[in-house]
Amino acid sequence: MASNKKYWKSVEELNKNSAIVDTLKQNEFPEEIPTDLFLGDKKTLEATSTTRRDFLKYVGFTTAAVTLASCEGPVVKSIPYIIKPNDIIPGVAEYYATTIADGFDFANVLVKVREGRPIKIEPNKDANGTTNARVQASVLSLYDSLRLKGPKANGAEISWNEADQQIIAKLNEVKASGLPIAVLTGTSASPSTKKLIAKFNETFENVAHVEYDAVSESATLDAFEEMYGSRALPDYHLEKAEVIVSIGADFLGSWQGGGFEAGYSKGRVPTSGKMSRHIQFESNMSLSGANADKRIMAKPSEQNQVLLNLYQAVVSGVVSSEATPLNVAVQKAAEQLKKAGSKAVVLTGIQDKNAQLLALAINKALNSEVLDVSATKNIRKGNDADVAQLIADMNEGKIGAVIIYNSNPVYTLPNSAAFVEGLKKVKLSVAFSMQDNETANAVQYSLATPHYLESWGDVEIKKGQYSLVQPTIKTLFNTRQFQDSLLAWTGSKATYYDFLKETWNTEILGDKSWNQALHDGVFAADAVQSEAISLEVDLETAAAQLAEVKGSDLELQLYVKIGLGDGQMANNPWLQEFPDPITRTSWDNYLTISKSDADALGAVNNHVANGALNGSMVELSINGVSEILPVLIQPGQAKGSLGLALGYGRTQGLKAEMQTGKNAYKFYKNFNNFQTGATLKLVGGEHEFACVQLQNTLMGRGDIIKETTLEVFNDASLDPKHTWNLIPVVSLDHEEVEASSVDLWDSFDRTIGHHFNLSIDLNACTGCGACVIACHAENNVPVVGKDEIRRSRDMHWLRIDRYYSHEEDFAGDNEVKENGKGAMGFKKAMDALEDPSENPSVAFQPVMCQHCNHAPCETVCPVAATSHGRQGQNQMAYNRCVGTRYCANNCPYKVRRFNWFEYPNNSKFDYNMNDDLGKMVLNPDVVVRSRGVMEKCSMCIQMTQATILKAKKEGRPINTNEFETACSNACTAGAMVFGDVNKPEDTVTGLAEDKRAYHLLEHIGTKPNVVYHVKVRNTQEA
């Protein structure tokens, strides 16, 4: 407030020209300051105690002190909720139902969100959702620090507005020129996206939508279309199958999009004396082959023959004249198929339309109930011919613009160079990409898209089964969805969310609630009873054409690994470190070869001093394409065949550590996973593998994985002593008693309160490894990298041991061991047992901390850092641990993992725990361990405690089967069941007392709380 008030200081001011007033105006001090009095008087000056130097010291000190006080210490910012959002309680997780549809994996999932951060993916069980290892790991890709963080034009950052203007201008140019606009997408199975592309077509005309799957199922789609009229994938209800014959179909892997474990495992558990019989003909040792009751090695070209013979035997009853072992096996399979009739099914992975036609025809002839041709699946739509045509057109300059979404063709195309050339010839090339990958770097405009956890969307995985995708976090970067961009380019002001909601409300939901659908994540439309039309197909020609396919001496079978899939998540350290279920090798792809072929070539696998595996390097050439690859000798690899995994060898948009393996897509000619005419040449040098398991056989230790046959299991008279699940005996007072009954200690009363058990059914477990990643995510398990894995220092709390038999089966191994009499005989037997058979029987066994009630680790810890919980868990107090590693040495199961280094915040371990973004995935309920402490499976104590607390707050007893661990939750196959054995209603209580139940290494007397179930194999050949 300005004021005009004048304050009078003296009457003198009234006198104009007053000398006093003037003087005062000029001088600050009315009187002269008597400095002389002070400075002139030398005596006084000298007498003062403050010297000039002292004065300067004081000045210096105060200046320094003030400066220091003004400095800030390092501030760790944490942002509290000043105003708490209504639906968030800090410390309590929120779950949102959404759907992953990345073009390779499609699943209904629940997303666990803590304080606004999605931290874990779980299957949406209410929607029959299943998760595999990749889906479980996909949450980490959200926090990938190398994501494309905003739109770019020719490598330079640009704003969305500018990008829109430039692209619309160019699109209009293309429209004017009359050239078509190609939209190249991966399979999205999204009704709204499909509608939107149609709308885009309305605006710009002449828009061609080409769908492309990196790993093609085009042959199947074509065959199905020819036979049943729609271009989709049939579904298989494997739980209904009594006989499954698979010819090169890795249906437990990602064959036809995968997701068959649940049904398969249901049929594999012997209930009321019945389980399915699974016969697998294949060249590579696949997960499905490893689970088969009978596995017959057949080169890819021989698989064609197998299918033909099977077709003839089943459909026309013609028996092949030649009695080769393969033909005999086919004959037996055919008989079993015919016997099982409608309860049998034939699956094939041969990427040949004729082969797929024949397989469908066999199933049709069998009248198979397993095959479902009405509720078809939309998770693969790619059309090889369209893609090939597009590339040709691009190179001929017939395409005006290419818009790529949800696909990385520059990396995945076998003729990537032609595609890149073609890109140069189009007026406009746009790639929507989450990663700064090969394609994003080859186009004019790379537009950053959000992760599916930041997106809206919908998916029709199966006909009539609609799923919604909803964001669980605000976009981390300056990204925009592909669909929002299309809307913007078509001039619409609506967001994709509006568009989606409108589409659903008008076309899908009918009168049902959008909110309910969003809450559930899925919506099942009323089943439209449409009779599946069945068209007449000329099967004779198909068979004749298939018979003409020529093999060669050496054939390559390309496959997809459980870990990396098609390679889009190559920058995900969890998946890179995930050991392949079969080879148990991480961080690599390699050429799998049979022992005899390797010997003939002179290629070797050998172990270096610390046990790590090395392999020879070879040069693989097929039709002029060649690559230098390491060789891994694979038991069960058909002679004359080679295996190589797709999805590796990415070079752009990933950290240096993640640039592992070689790109096998270059051999994926004509999108066929079977390539003939391979030649191998030994080149010098050795490759260093990172295997987590170095001993491949069980050494005749049949009590580790107990097995029996269905016959013996069903008929007690065949084995009256019940030898297939004997409890080991020990001598007590010269009498043989069951080992579990002998106790050095007075036992606690464990019947009060909760007592947790985890049951693992070896029959249901397929070894898929979803649990391994779920455990990784839930428990903040560090990633250690290839070098450390090579030093046998993997940190997985849960591992899935894989054993090969030395003989045809494990019973044979036991016999070899028994027959090794005397010192020399024993040595000979043991030496022999170290080598796996050429076509071994395979067994999987998930092993985590067994939570022994008499834990060897607990007694030896000098500081009592590991001790037993009241609820049966063996607990680790990380704060107390001094790291003597005595517990790990004394653990018979070797499940304890030591922090050899500081894994988080260490640039030597540049994985997700070394950057701020990657750390967002960490579970705040589980502590991140420092170096020097021991860690291990806790039986997800944070989850069981949360369940107890929740029930307590809600004032109710715990519900039946309410307790879960990360692994049991992730187990689609239903092999892992967790629960409270003090609750008779819990499933686990019954399982723990099942006649198949046994404890691992029971004779040591550790009394574990993990129960295994004897593996039963269906060996009935007729």
């Binding site: 398991q693 005749g700 010192a823 007694t859 000098p862 004394n890 018979p892 070797k894 922090n899 290494l1001």
Partner: protein, 463 residues
């Protein structure tokens, strides 16, 4: 302790024409004289090795145990091998000074001082490993039952590793007291001979005001006897407890009831070998051949031969019991030990520990100084491998074949081991130049009975 008549057939324990004064002069000579080039060279080498070891330890503590070659399956290797090896070496001292004292073996007098010094120095090396092998050394005090504010947070008295803490610390303290007690009259002798005031002052302090009165001697004798009585059970207990680290576990190859006696025998075996190694050099360098005679070395060789044979029996018993048990895991553990990937270590262990001491049956060999020296080195190598074999070959292939792997040391593993050898020799070389290396007061007590000159005077006609 007094000198009595000794039979003429017993060979003299002090050779040559030595008087009481000669003994004083001889023992004091290394202390009073100047170090020669050889000493300085040896000391420099040891010091460099020691510093290198310190560097490796600092690197380990700064970076993590991961710099060693260990892995998820083999959680202990060189660390605990070295620990047991050094503890084993530390056994001879107490055995010689305490047990032989109780058994009135006079020949211990020439060697007990150095043997005990060796014990203390090697126990120091041994004690280092359980500390640095911890992942979080900075929390090492957690293993001590210290009162704390956490209520019931206490150490786990069930853990053999905790028993180790007590066993080793007790052993170190008792050995140190015993050693020092014996040193008192000898320090006093050095004090009395010292010319330089500083030296006089130091030895005066070290000798705790020893005056040499009859009362001093009486108390000295009594304390020695009491401490010998206390130390004797320790000789057995320390390595028994160390063996419990393995014996109480559930790992095939570790879980063995034979371990306590087998470990004690092995410890004595390796301890005597180390005493032989050190004294054969020392008697030469410090001109003590008159006091550490061939007779001493021969007697030690006999102990080596006997304990080596006990160890050999234990090895064979283990193999037999593994077979006899009928337990396949047990059988495989031993089959793998002998013929698995670490067969060479087993072979080294067998040949060094079981076969090489058998040469000592031959008098010519056991009285040969050079041969004794070679065997003593061989035995020490063998005993290191014994511990390596027990620890690594049992762990690397235990129950579940999926976890089987191999161990191979890194430069840090090797560096720390070499460092402890350096540290040991640094201490021992300093000791050799500043301490009375022979218990001269005790040796003087047997001069009349066992001195060559006096024996000759007495039994002259026999020669």
């Amino acid at each position: 302790m007094s000198s009595h008549y000794e039979a003429p057939i017993r060979r003299p324990l002090i050779v040559g024409d030595k008087s009481y004064h000669d003994i004083s002069v001889d023992v004091a000579a290394p202390v009073e004289g100047k170090a020669n080039k050889l000493w300085w060279t040896a000391f420099s080498v040891a010091l460099v090795a020691f510093l290198w070891g310190i560097g490796c330890i600092v690197y380990t503590i700064g970076t993590g145990i991961g710099v060693w070659g260990l892995n998820k399956t083999v959680g202990w290797a060189w660390d605990i091998t070295n620990f047991v090896w050094w503890v084993g070496i530390g056994h001879a001292g107490t055995l010689i000074s305490a047990v032989l004292l109780l058994f009135r073996q006079k020949w211990r007098m020439g060697i007990n001082r150095s043997a005990e010094a060796m014990t203390i120095f090697s126990v120091i090396q041994a004690g280092l490993f359980p500390v640095i092998h911890m992942g979080r050394v900075w929390n090492a005090h957690f293993v001590l039952p210290l009162p704390n504010q956490f209520g019931t947070l206490w150490t786990n008295f069930n853990s053999p590793l905790l028993w180790d803490v007590f066993a080793i610390s007790t052993y170190l303290s008792v050995s140190l007291v015993f050693w020092w007690t014996g040193l008192l009259p000898d320090f006093a002798m050095l004090r009395d001979r010292a010319i330089r005031p500083f030296q006089k002052k130091i030895y005066g302090l070290l000798s705790f005001g020893w005056t040499g009165r009859a009362k001093d001697w009486q108390r000295f004798e009594e304390v020695s006897l009491v401490l010998a009585g206390l130390a004797t059970p320790l000789v057995l207990s320390v390595h028994t407890i160390v063996s419990f680290d393995f014996a109480t576990s559930v790992i095939p190859g570790w879980h063995t009831t034979i371990f306590p006696p087998y470990f004690v025998a092995g410890a004595v075996f390796s301890g005597f070998a180390m005493v032989n190694t050190l004294l054969i050099i020392m008697r030469k360098v410090s001109n003590l051949e008159a006091y550490i005679t061939k007779q001493h070395i021969e007697l030690m060789n006999i102990v080596i031969m006997i304990t080596g044979s006990i160890v050999g029996c234990a090895y064979i018993t283990e193999l037999f019991i593994a077979w006899y048990s009928g337990v396949e895991y047990e059988q495989y553990a031993f089959l793998n030990r002998a013929t698995g990937p670490y067969w060479w270590a087993y072979l080294l262990m067998m040949s060094c520990n079981v076969f090489s001491p058998q040469f000592m049956w031959f008098k010519r060999l056991r009285t040969s100084i050079t041969f004794s020296f070679i065997i003593s080195i061989v035995v020490n190598i063998g005993m290191w491998f014994e511990r390596f074999v027990i620890i690594v070959t049992s762990l690397h292939r235990d129950y579940l074949p999926s976890s089987w792997t191999m161990f191979s040391p890194t430069f840090v593993d090797i560096g720390i081991f070499i460092g402890t050898i350096g540290f040991f020799f640094v201490l021992f070389l300093l000791y050799a130049r500043t301490f009375p290396v022979i218990a001269q007061a005790e040796v003087k007590s047997i001069l009349k009975a066992s001195g060559e000159k006096y024996k000759k005077l007495r039994d002259g006609n026999h020669e």
